[in-house]
Symmetry: C2
Subunit: 158 residues, 2 copies
Amino acid sequence: MTIARHSPPLAATSVEAAAALLRARGMRLSSARRLVLEALFAAQRPVTAEAIAAGLGGALPETDVASVYRNLEALETVGLVRHMHLGHGPGLYTLAGERDREYLACERCGAYEAVAPEELDDVRGVIRGRFGYEPRFSHFPIVGLCASCAELAETDLQ
Amino acid sequence: MTIARHSPPLAATSVEAAAALLRARGMRLSSARRLVLEALFAAQRPVTAEAIAAGLGGALPETDVASVYRNLEALETVGLVRHMHLGHGPGLYTLAGERDREYLACERCGAYEAVAPEELDDVRGVIRGRFGYEPRFSHFPIVGLCASCAELAETDLQ
DNA sequence: TTTTTTGCAAAACCTTTGCAGTTGG
DNA sequence: CCAACTGCAAAGGTTTTGCAAAAAA
């Protein structure tokens, strides 16, 4: 029930760069693994394993989902990939990077918003100060009512 | 993929009080539903549907898990119950209340800590001010390294 | 009596695993 | 060559659904 962050994030700027990092650890760049990396580089947003296996809807060849999961796990262990949960439903995967985005999600409309980590430094500071936790909002988002849903909710009450 | 909070939280102080609220909405207090409520009153911590179905390990009679899920959903719709996810694994259910606890979880050791909502009001204020979100950390916890794991992590680096 | 709810079985959904065969280095 | 990896199929864990029978109001 712990939340996996196997290694510190490793920012790769290309599939080749990622491949070098893998080889340095005795791991290989198989064609299936290459596809997973290509999909993650191609998608600029978090994607499901299913979507990667489907070749991002035609943009890339299809692969076996089980292999996709295995590769995502391997890449996450190394630190090249991370995953998160923005609500119910399948996990979402992205490339890890120096400046991993963090997330705010609306519990009512399901919209979500990615923000640069600095945007949350104040929040982090308050939490660190009070609880001694160093939080990151990249695995689970900050959940709440977004501005427009909060407005709607107020109207509903009247 | 939205996060269900069907109705505003409704604090019931007893099974009977809950029953009254249910009846007011044309819902019944069946024996299975009563057991779910009793389990939630008995457990002072968030519990899984499975644990409720198992009668909290002997403290109460067993019930069918499917009925437990259906009842939890019904009670959540009404606002008497809420659920959360502290990591991977099954959802955790609690009675809803005026002062719902919020959670901090350690991504490394899996420990979690419940805090009174006021403890997070500063954090909420910062987030509201910057993003217009009114957050609650009762569905997903604040994830980070707890103090002792953060310390360990530092040692590891040396 | 009427509508809600149950219990069981089955399916749905997401993810992991076993295994024999393939492939990257 | 040989360990790492694949594809497929099957299972695992969590949650939902269909349906005929039971029970609450």
